[in-house]
């Protein structure tokens, strides 16, 4: 049975914004001639209370079952007019917005009569579309009030604590036997301050003492299925399988340090170490005596191996340089009897196979008659420290103050160009940094006891697997890619999954902390509401036509499609945003978008071209 279509059209003057350029009464008059239009009127301001009342009254008086407002932008005003329709008992999806201000009067201010004709065209299109609209219901989907945080480093711990303090149970999954992550490698955070592990202790304690946090050490996520509010997760907790349902997931899987194989003598010389290895030497009190040290920045970053700048290395190098300048005796390695450690063991951080490769290369060098490295002489009163850099990234407040302090302490900052980087070799048994001094226009040499290579943070090898498991994207740099770099820094495009810390790119500890709190805030929203309002405007699969090719599953940015038991595509309504990517790519034409169906859009297009056809 075909419904009797009764359309009401409300054309807004918007003061002079529309009325000054478009002949509103003639648009109203024209509207009355269109099929299905029962009622049409003009309003000075449709959005003012009297304008709204005119809609409400007309719906009742004329038994309207479709309402069209021709005025401004849906972005600001659609909810208002939809609300009025609902008050009068009309489903809000039977409302149509026609924009004759931004799309017409404002852009055609100098073309009065033509603007009026265009306004008529736009209204005619709206009427054609309104004929085919159907009422829609917005499904509410319950949210399991529980969260999963993957990664027990600083970011994961802070995120889990905050969600727990919002009042919700959280699984905190860490692959290692202790919480703490990368920070446990570091010597200290504040200058001359406490050990990083000690600094970390209050954060770890907050986790261990929190009753809302379910601590899963030596654990990993084995499987994830579902969508926002309803994720079925399978955890491997120290060999035991745990299955549960969670509403949201926060990803805080961190980053690794790039291992500079083949760069600046890293494989060849014992005293060439990475920044993190240097921190470990200091932390374990195994730093040998040195009288001079060079840091080389941007090893493997900024277009060298990786395209990006790793953000933190300049500041970490400066921190360590200051530590040497101010606090050398405290970081110097000593054995049980208090004697200064003479030998370096640097392979503790490097994975075993790299350590092995280094040993082999060193062996080769020895066979070729390479020089023996001489014992480091005892430090004189001052240690010579140089930082070879391309730009010093001491952004913000603290970092820049540290940079100034380092210069006051006579740490030398030597700029190099990527076209002419310093060279590292040994001469007379001593490490040498051979570099071009751009101000003096001279090739210079610096004898050093140790070289620290500042290498970038890189996405860990586990990232692609996690990306696949959670169906969230990685960027070109290998790190997880947030929904929007500016305005959605801790969201994924997929609702219900969030990201923080170095999993999404290099960040210092402060940044990891506020990102983790931000991710917790975002994740707590659906948990606190207890439900998610699914979009009424979703994709619809015609199962009879679908061949199960899977193209739609690949293009969906929200992970909202899957194959069902019959091998055909199925829309996960809670995850679908109604973007239409799947509909546009489906080779069989099996996917339509509700409220923007092909037939509705074609009707609009036909109406637009009507005059031309006639």
């Amino acid at each position: 049975m075909k419904e009797d279509i009764r359309i009401g059209v409300f054309v807004c003057h918007c003061g002079t914004n529309i009325g000054g350029f478009v002949d509103v009464p003639s648009v109203v008059e024209y509207s009355r001639t269109l099929p299905g239009v029962i009622y049409a009127t003009g309003n000075l301001y449709t959005c003012a209370e009297d304008g709204l009342a005119s809609i409400r009254d007309a719906i009742k008086e004329h038994h309207l079952n479709r309402v069209i407002v021709a005025s401004c932008t849906p972005r600001t005003h659609a909810p208002l007019f939809q609300g009025v329709c609902e008050e009068a008992g009309l489903n809000k999806y039977l409302f149509t917005f026609v924009n004759i201000r931004e799309h017409c009067s404002w852009v055609h201010m100098k073309e009065g009569p033509k603007a009026t004709e265009k306004a008529k065209d736009l209204v005619r299109m709206g009427v054609a579309r309104a004929q085919l609209l159907e009422p829609k219901e917005e499904a509410r989907i319950d949210v399991e009030p529980k969260a999963l945080v993957i990664g027990g480093g600083i970011s994961g711990m802070v995120a889990a604590t905050s969600i727990a303090n919002h009042g919700f149970p959280v699984y905190l999954v860490e692959k290692e036997a202790d919480f703490g992550g990368f920070v446990r490698n570091l010597n200290n955070l504040y200058l001359g301050g406490k050990d990083a592990t000690e600094m970390l202790k209050p954060i770890v304690d907050q986790v261990t003492s929190n009753k809302n946090i379910i601590k899963c050490l030596k654990s990993k996520v084995a499987g994830v299925d579902g969508f926002i509010g309803n994720y079925q997760v399978a955890l491997d907790v120290d060999g035991k399988e745990v299955k549960d349902k969670v509403g949201v997931i926060v990803l805080a899987t961190g980053a690794d340090e790039y291992v500079p194989e083949g760069l600046f003598g890293y494989d060849l010389y014992e005293n060439v170490v990475t920044l993190t290895e240097f921190e470990i030497l200091c932390k374990r009190k195994t730093l040998p005596k040195i009288s001079s040290i060079a840091f080389i920045q941007c090893v493997g970053s900024r277009g060298h191996v990786k395209s990006y700048c790793s953000r933190i290395c300049c500041n970490v190098a400066i921190k360590n340089a200051l530590n040497i300048a101010e606090n050398y005796q405290n970081i110097l390695g000593k054995d049980e009897r208090g004697a200064v450690v003479e030998k370096v063991g640097v392979d503790m951080k490097a994975p075993e196979e790299i350590a092995e490769r280094r040993r082999r290369r060193r062996g080769r060098r020895d066979r070729e008659g390479g020089e023996e490295e001489a014992e480091a002489p005892a430090p004189s009163e001052g240690i010579e420290i140089a930082i070879f850099n391309r730009d010093i990234m001491s952004y913000g407040l603290e970092h820049e103050l540290n940079y100034n302090k380092a210069r006051e302490k006579h740490v030398r900052f030597v700029r190099y160009s990527p076209a002419n980087p310093p060279k590292v070799y040994t001469e007379n048994g001593k490490l040498v940094v051979d570099y071009w001094h751009d101000t003096l226009k001279l090739q210079r040499k610096m004898n050093v006891d140790m070289i620290v290579l500042s290498t970038p943070l890189v996405s860990p090898p586990s990232a692609p697997g996690i990306s696949k498991l959670l169906k969230v994207p990685l960027g070109q740099d290998g790190f997880f890619l947030e929904a929007h770099v500016k305005l959605r820094p801790v969201d994924f495009a997929t609702d219900g999954i969030f990201v923080c810390g170095t999993a999404k790119g290099p960040a210092d500890i402060t940044e990891c902390v506020f990102q983790a709190q931000a991710a917790a805030s975002r994740a707590a929203i659906p948990l606190a509401r207890g439900y998610v309002q699914a979009e009424a405007l979703t994709a619809i699969v015609d199962a009879d036509i679908c061949t199960g090719c899977g193209t739609c599953i690949e293009v969906c940015p929200y992970g909202a499609l899957r194959k069902n038991m019959d091998g055909v595509a199925e829309v996960i309504v809670a995850a679908c945003k109604g973007c239409g990517c799947c509909g546009a790519t489906c080779p069989e034409g099996a996917i339509d978008l509700s409220h923007y169906t092909d037939s509705q859009l074609l009707a609009e297009a036909k109406a637009a071209l009507q005059e031309a056809i006639q």
């Binding site: 600001t76 990006y308 953000r311 407040l397 506020f514 931000a518």
Partner: protein
Amino acid sequence: MERSVLVVGSGVAGIQASLDLADKGVIVHLVEKDPSIGGRMAQLDKTFPTNDCSICILAPKMADCYGHPNINVLTYSELIGLDGHKGRFKAKVLKKARYVDESKCTGCGECLVKCPTKGIPSEFEMGLSTRRAIYMPFLQAVPRVATIDREHCKHLTEGKCGVCKKVCKREAIDYEMKDAVLEFEVGAVIVATGFDVWNPMVASEYGYGRFPNVFIAMEYERIINAAGPTSGHIRRRSDGGEPRTIAFIQCVGSRNVQLNHPYCCSVCCMHSTKEAMLAKEHKDDVKTTIFYKDMRACAKGFYEYVVRAQRDYNVEYVNSDATVQEETEDHNPVVSFDVGGRSVRKEFDMVVLATSLVPRATNAQLSKVLGVQLDEFGFIKSKDRIFSPVETNVPGIYVAGYCGGPADIPESVAQGSAAAAKAAETLVEARVFA
């Protein structure tokens, strides 16, 4: 979750904090001193490193904020008092009379074109264009409501005129409106008041104020904006001509110990890179040069952005301090800089200064009202810079965005959310332990 939170400042950090809390069911009172929400981000033309139109991505958030049933937006208002403690504060807010009834005004703009009192420098346009005594600060202002500037209105100052009242068909003009003090009980407070732009007239070596074609970056952002004072055409102040060479000078007033701005503002290398790229997009034959100390392109996609500026936009980067000590007869500023230890002077058609973004001058007053400590530069001090970046010394009062120290847009957004998390935790705790 019950009870409410006060958010001071409605830039992108304050908006994000408000939306996060409101979406959790918390009632938010959002206090903004200006007639519109949006803050600094609303003034920017594009955002790095994606060159997204700034207001285009912000405006939907502003609309969401104003339309949110849980957010009480108080524009043209200031926080004047706060008593109590975490979980139970009493806030006093001064709502300044805007002489326009917000509930009646539809923002049609009739009064804005009829008001005879013209020529008042527009704050939003950095004084590069003028407004009238009744005004909306910018096209996308939220709320879309007019405001009468009581300093300049002929009716309010001299009892004359009354044109706006005559032309307003909505009868929204109310000359009798009085300032009002509103009181709210809130469980937590979030401070997100942003930054001031340092005025480089103090430092004569940059020529700002002396030479007409020296601009500050915030002025330039308005000049390249299609809705700005020159409709998006880059024009010189002296003759309205379009520049063919533009120099950008970095660290003007920042990384400067003498001025007590030893910090790096974190955003200028990138905004200058963006501004140089946009100059080329506006007019292909423009040649741009950036004088910098260190090119701080150190977040996601930033270094790649600088590489693109050099490769695709022919932006020249010169690693040198630079000053503008003189101009030519044609008002072309002359930039002095060093190349390989040799000093060089070069004429440009226009100079844009990346001036220091400094703590709000009003922070001292705000710190008295709230009891929060400032650091030695005037930023609101974190309880612990490493582990508690959004907490202040006062339990229950949190900080987000640039007012706590240099931050770019994504950091401000993340801190807005982070402060919202801490505020929500406070409310949960207060209810459990009250």
